[in-house]
Symmetry: C3
Subunit: 217 residues, 3 copies
């Protein structure tokens, strides 16, 4: 993807993407356990949270094979992760709290936004579509997770900036590409901006406004 | 699409489609505001309601680029519309009532049915599939809107003819094509029949039957 | 699909697939009637339950035309089935109980798993992906049915082995293909194993474990 990236950076990226995917999968596992799903439901919801966003992006772009088809090892890793998480939850009565999950999740948000936007740009999409698809990559895993668990998606509901950080980060990537900066610079900048905004939103407790329906609605 | 359409009619069609898209987007904005979603949720649900039906149709037909990718200006327009609607709701405590929305929605139902059925026929689909996809174009935006908002889709639930008007209108388009009428005639006839049926259903308060589950179920 | 299959077996397969599709469609009709959907909702949910799994599989594999587009007669049959079921429910206050539905549903689970896994293998998918897509073919119709009806999907929630039987059956098909057994043998074996496991799960009342979230979550 980022052809100019030095070897070290591409290794860092692989590690970071793995961390991000694990964080997203665990968010699915935790939500499924909360909803008292069975072992199958936990694995499926974990998989939807981890791979759902990228899958929706690839269907929109008509890219095949899907990334989890091309790298089927991810499916085995996901299965192992879900089984390990279930064993761990059973033994320890579930240690990973949602607060602890926020930080890997913020890293995942940044990385998936950057890589998703880049992939869409590489497919020749206009800037607004690429930014939107970067956001979809980062956010729609969680949306599918919540829809299957019969909840309004948290990304649309909890009034803390989440998708909007991805939106901002996507534009950073577009801007750095217009400036012809090297690929690894723009990917890093986009991921950093997204993750920093999300981290700032958590630390400073920023809130998005809400619109309450009046009686006339 | 309708190559024989005179210039005036094609202008009318563009205006009418814009009205329809706006009506569908506003239905999403209103439902999202009711559910107290945040600003991101309002924009996403508005977008799903406006573009979701056509996107499902295009994925089934494997048409790429998707229409909102090809005409990315629609995304900017949608964003502007959602921001304007939110500002308006905040200032005025939300004026557009659901009753007022029924009429542009009925126009949208007719137009999306006609154009969706035509696109499917142009892709070589058999008549029943084309009619189904015309219905999907017109109805599935609202279905996705309701699923994300954690409701049973209103189109399947409120016992007022909605999708069934689209179904009838689609067959009108198929019939007029069998009769080799010019393209703009069949599109206009299908849209008019769909919208008129929906308008009649609203005015006369027609009801679809319901099937209540017995105890033996 | 199974080119070595004798003529009688291929006839059996057609009949069995029809039984399975009808069972899945009826599960949608019954759930829709329970939720008091209208006539349109009953037909749509019946169609989602019958065709949803195969459609998701085909979108992932990028196979076009979709099977219900290629064989549009299925859509007519589905429409006729739903109308007949509604007429029957109205006349008799709904005879088909969920218990009676379990057995055709188990047959459908086996057949859809076998054919879905085979189709994915024929498309050159790796084994784990093919097994997953066989499971998706068999299970995601029910998942979509439950999501549209605003329920947590039963397949993830009721703690009775269902998707996991499909998972096991898919591996049987992969194993028999590695052993170069004739196509009809591996399809039959996979379907039989899946259906038998499901039947045993129903008869013996097997339960999957559940993971309850602790307070620390």
């Amino acid at each position: 993807m980022a052809s100019g990236a030095p070897w070290v950076l591409s290794q860092v990226q692989v590690v970071a993407e793995a961390v991000a995917t694990v964080a997203f999968a665990l968010s699915g596992v935790i939500e499924a356990a909360r909803k008292r799903l069975d072992a199958v439901g936990i694995c499926v919801v974990g998989g939807l949270a981890a791979f759902g966003g990228g899958t929706v992006r690839d269907v929109v772009l008509d890219r095949r094979p899907l990334f989890w088809v091309q790298h089927a090892g991810w499916l085995w890793a996901l299965l192992a992760l879900c089984i390990a998480a279930m064993a761990f939850m059973r033994a320890r009565h579930l240690e990973p709290t949602e607060r602890a999950m926020q930080w890997p999740d913020a890293i995942g948000l940044g990385l998936f936004t950057a890589s998703g936007t880049q992939i869409a740009l590489d497919s020749g999409m206009p800037a607004i579509v690429a930014v939107l698809l970067g956001m979809v990559t980062a956010v729609f895993g969680g949306v599918l997770r919540d829809v299957v668990c019969n909840e309004i998606p948290r990304a649309f509901h909890d009034h803390r900036p989440y998708a909007i950080c991805a939106f901002a980060g996507g534009w950073v990537l577009v801007a750095t590409q217009v400036l012809s900066l090297p690929g690894w610079v723009s990917l890093t900048a986009a991921a950093l901006v997204t993750t920093s905004l999300r981290a700032a939103a958590i630390v400073c407790d920023w809130r998005l406004p809400e619109w309450q329906a009046s009686r006339r609605l």
